[in-house]
């Protein structure tokens, strides 16, 4: 850290006072459409921030363009509402320059996976310690209703009157394919789960990629209702919990069994299968993570929600810092006079 920066910034110790959610609410009026899923996500993040024990001034939210990207304006932390798709790259530069900061990216399925898809996969493979919250509403909201890279095949929108012929990304598979070290999925209408996952993401050292199913009640209302609503949720969602069997159903009487490499639904009624035949979730197993993530668009299977993978790999910024240390150990702190006069010189 440069001398000038050191002079003004505070240390990385936990805050002296206990924050409340209110401390993270900025003075700006929140301007999402009434009923938007973003409100819930904002509330859960503000609620969980005090538990992270990071000073407000050491927290930065960076976003791109889209409805979700207005998020930083509503957080009373440092914030940067940037340009379309580039939040991940801006956050990368910020984190590399200032590794001690807690850096968050708020993005959407368009911003993060379409125009910003390239930066997203490169951030993930580098494993820079940034927390990415990717609000997936499967539609372009801010531009008023075109299909997105996560919209389902055949979707009729303003720009696809005969139905979309784009095959959608599965964000979790994409993040795993980019060698993600923390990949999770949660939902706007499950506040407790959302809080848990955000907390885990914040604690993870390395890039945390969290896909958040978010309802756009204006342009894609109900896209996830079968997954989020009480009447249907139990039958359609399987929660991933480390060390626990993959059970689902109102009565917890169904589970996911691995037939070779293929996950299948089995009933625990009737005595053919027991809990012992089910997949036991292991967050540290990347092969399993791929299999589980691939359940996503298989309509014969419940939708997996939770942490697919959480593994350790050295972060980019720690290695960058290390190389600087090694260079200083080897050659001493840089001397400008010497540097300018390096190579072959002569005197007149």
């Amino acid at each position: 850290m440069s001398v000038l920066v050191e002079e003004v910034v505070s240390n990385s110790e936990p805050p002296a006072v206990k924050y409340t959610a209110k401390n993270f609410q900025s003075d700006q009026d929140v301007r999402w459409c009434p009923g938007c899923g973003d409100y819930s996500i904002l509330a859960q993040v503000q609620r969980i921030m005090p538990e992270l024990n990071v000073k407000r001034e050491n927290t930065v939210f960076v976003s791109g363009i889209g409805c979700s990207s207005r998020f930083p304006y509503y957080m009373d932390t440092y914030g940067f509402h940037s340009i379309h798709g580039r939040a991940t790259a801006i956050a990368s530069g910020l984190k590399l320059a200032r590794p001690e900061l807690s850096v968050w990216v708020v993005t959407g399925d368009g911003d993060g996976l379409s125009i910003g898809g390239n930066h997203m996969i490169h951030l993930i493979r580098r494993n820079i310690d940034i927390n990415v919250m990717m609000f997936n509403n499967q539609i372009y909201g801010l531009t008023k209703g075109q299909y997105s890279p996560t919209s389902e095949f055949g979707k009729v929108t303003k720009s696809t009157p005969m139905g979309s012929i784009d095959y959608p990304f599965n964000p979790a598979s994409l993040a795993l394919g980019a060698s993600g070290t923390f990949v999770a999925r949660t939902m706007d209408r499950d506040p407790k789960h959302l809080q848990q996952i955000i907390k885990r993401a914040a604690e993870h050292k390395g890039t945390s990629f969290v896909e958040i199913y978010q309802n756009c009640n204006v342009f894609n209302d109900g896209a996830f209702f079968t997954l989020t609503e009480k009447e249907s949720r139990d039958e359609n969602v399987v929660y991933l919990e480390h060390g626990k069997p993959l059970l689902f159903g109102k009565e917890k009487d169904k589970g996911i069994h691995l037939d070779g490499f293929t996950p299948t639904v089995v009933s625990l009624k009737g005595g053919k299968y027991s809990v012992n035949d089910l997949i036991i979730h292991d967050e540290n197993n990347s092969t399993l993570a791929f299999i589980l993530a691939n359940m996503t668009y298989n309509h014969a299977l419940p939708r997996p929600v939770g942490i697919f993978l959480s593994i350790e790999r050295p972060t980019y910024e720690s290695q960058m810092t290390r190389q600087i240390q090694v260079a200083i150990e080897k050659r001493g702190v840089g001397d400008l006079e010497k540097l300018l006069g390096s190579g072959d010189t002569w005197t007149i």
Binding site: L4, G79, G93, G334
Partner: protein
């Protein structure tokens, strides 16, 4: 026989061969040795975009021209006095740049039937009379190299690769310079490969001894040291000077340097160079693309680093939106464009000045940024340092224009005294009372730099229009107009903070030649030559292209004629005409090559009438 030694004021040599023949290395070594001997010099590497183009072809020819002397040297030389041609294609491509009566040293092994066919020669130029107006020296460099290494049992491929050192050795003898610097370089470059050290050194010395002994060469030339100002010198390319300028600026700003960059010809060397300076705390980030390169730099700038991105024209095109963001959020940032031939992919390894209007206007909305242009390889250091000073003081992105000719070309550089470089450290805001993100300094109109980590200054910035002072999102018509004016005015006020423009020559007269960027040397040489003839001509070279220095208009009005030579179709001239309403005329060349002084001299004659 007794060999004669003649004294010369200046010489231009061009080394030419296949792109795999090591001509760039040969030229660089000759350059460094000449620099250490105290010659003033200027170089022009001229190589194809293909890494290893098919052997013996015309498009695979790589050249390196060095102009050195005991007098002031401003250009790599309009024409060469000596051409070293390693094969027929190299001769064919480069013969037109050789002066009548000039010397050609050829490797005869490079003139077999296949070589001649590939070069498009119907008869062997070494055998017919086509080269009769030149002094032709025929040496079987390939064979002599093999003989020199006969007892070493090296693979033919390795032996073949050392033959450029034979040519270099001959040229060292011819121009009376020692092989020592190159021997030392070989030793450190190949220190883990003793065989290669031995082979290269032996071949270098063999070339020298061959020239000394054989009767082919009977004259050698002495080019004495130039009378340069006193001090310590090194030879430097423009790209290295940019890298050093950035490190120096960060050091004098008391900030860490962050470089976000994506490899692109001819700017990549800046990234390579800076990645070696980790002990200075320099962080280099090879991004996934040009956009991430600049946006990562913007992120680093938000965090309080001196941030830069280095690229060439196609890269700037991709960075355009992000430059707009940087000026909207008013964060300091350096964008270095080492221009190359365009449009599109264009001529990656050739030089051009056609990105000036892109630098000035190539963004959506009213989006002014200061633009500075370097005039010589070593001037890249000063220009980048000055750009950093402006960026930090005015909280703005600044565009620095270099070009392929400056970036790869080199000249001796009088090392600056680190103590004399000004302190350019910014002041971060720390007082949490009454902080508003877009409050401005009255004189410069720059906002304060409040970095994450500072207690009590939590705030949000972004690309949406800002409300004056608060920085909140605001769409009111009057506010937008006010902010557009404020951003423009801030950049205009840079003109209050820079020295007045200075003319080389008289401040009044018949003709003012106005240039910017890498044309400096050619214009200077031409203007000096014409002044020596008694012509009333002066030279104004602009480092500050936006904003222009306050006295530029006045200087233009002091002359009857204004000539603007540019390596484009006329870009600066548009700015000067529209801003000052002067009837300037252009001299434009778009061949991927720098101007020759003679081309500018001819134009001066045409304007001022006769010789």
């Amino acid at each position: 026989m007794v060999k004669k030694t003649k004294s010369l004021d200046e010489v231009t040599i061009r080394f030419a061969g296949d792109s795999g023949d090591g001509m760039q290395l040969t030229g660089t070594q000759f350059t460094n040795t000449s620099a250490i001997m105290g010659n003033d010099l200027s170089t022009l590497p001229d190589y194809p975009a293909e890494i290893r183009a098919p052997q013996g072809t015309l498009f695979g020819v790589s050249g390196f021209q060095i102009h050195f002397g005991s007098t002031e040297i401003n250009t790599p030389g309009d024409q060469c006095d000596v051409l070293v041609a390693m094969n027929a294609a190299a001769l064919k491509v480069n013969l037109r740049s050789l002066v009548d009566g000039g010397a050609i040293i050829v490797n005869t092994d490079g003139f077999n039937d296949k070589n001649l066919r590939l070069a498009g020669y119907e008869s062997n130029p070494l055998a017919d009379a086509s080269l009769s107006k030149y002094q032709l020296f025929q040496v079987d460099i390939t064979k002599l190299t093999a003989l020199a290494l006969a007892d070493m049992n090296l693979p033919t491929k390795i032996v073949d690769r050392t033959k450029n050192f034979f040519a270099l050795g001959m040229m060292y003898w011819m121009y009376n310079r020692s092989v020592d610097t190159t021997v030392e370089w070989i030793r450190s470059k190949f220190k883990s490969k003793p065989d290669i050290v031995e082979a290269n050194t032996r071949v270098l010395k063999a070339g020298w001894s061959f020239a000394e002994t054989t009767e082919i060469f009977n004259v050698r030339y002495d080019v004495k040291a130039a009378s340069l100002p006193r001090g310590k010198y090194r030879n430097i390319t423009g790209n290295t000077a940019v890298a050093l300028g950035l490190v120096a600026a960060a050091s004098k700003a008391k900030l860490d340097l962050f470089l976000g960059s994506y490899p692109i010809t001819p700017a990549s060397d800046i990234l390579h160079e800076l990645s070696m300076y980790k002990e200075f705390g320099v962080k280099t980030f090879q991004a996934e693309d040009e956009i991430a390169a600049i946006t990562s730099a913007i992120g680093a700038s938000f965090g309080g680093a001196l941030a830069a991105t280095t690229t060439s024209g196609p890269g700037v095109a991709l960075k355009t939106e992000a430059i707009g963001l940087a000026l909207m959020v008013e964060l300091p940032l350096l964008i270095v464009n080492v221009q190359r031939g365009g449009p599109s992919t264009g001529l990656p390894t050739k030089t051009e000045q056609a990105d000036l209007l892109q630098a000035l206007y190539g963004r959506n909305g009213e989006a002014p940024v200061p633009v500075l242009a370097a005039s010589t390889p070593s001037d890249c250091f000063n220009t980048v340092f000055e750009a950093a000073r402006i960026a930090l003081k005015f909280m703005t992105p600044v565009m620095v224009l270099s070009d392929g000719y400056l970036g790869n070309g080199s000249e001796p550089w009088l090392l600056p005294n680190v103590k004399d470089l000004p302190d350019i450290s910014p002041k971060f805001r720390s007082d949490p009372n009454n902080y508003l993100p877009y409050l401005r300094d009255e004189a410069t109109l720059s906002r304060e730099w409040a970095i994450p980590g500072t207690p009590g200054l939590e705030h949000r910035i972004g690309g949406l229009e800002k409300q004056d002072k608060t920085g909140n999102v605001n769409y009111e018509p009057e506010n937008h107009e006010k902010m557009v004016h404020l951003r423009a005015e801030k950049v205009e006020r840079v003109a209050n903070d820079i020295p007045p423009a200075k003319v080389e020559g008289d401040e009044k007269g018949d003709l003012l030649v106005v240039g910017w960027g890498g044309t400096y040397g050619a214009i200077r040489s031409a203007v000096e030559a014409k002044r020596a003839e008694g012509k009333s001509v002066s030279h104004l070279h602009l480092r500050y292209v936006n904003p222009l220095q306050k006295n530029v208009g006045e200087l233009l009005y002091n002359f009857k004629h204004v000539l603007v030579p540019e390596i484009n179709l006329g870009q600066l001239i548009k700015v000067l005409r529209s801003k000052y309403l002067v009837p300037a005329v252009g001299l434009n060349k778009i061949q991927g090559q720098p101007f020759k002084s003679s081309e500018i001299e001819e134009k001066i004659d045409a304007i001022l009438g006769g010789k």
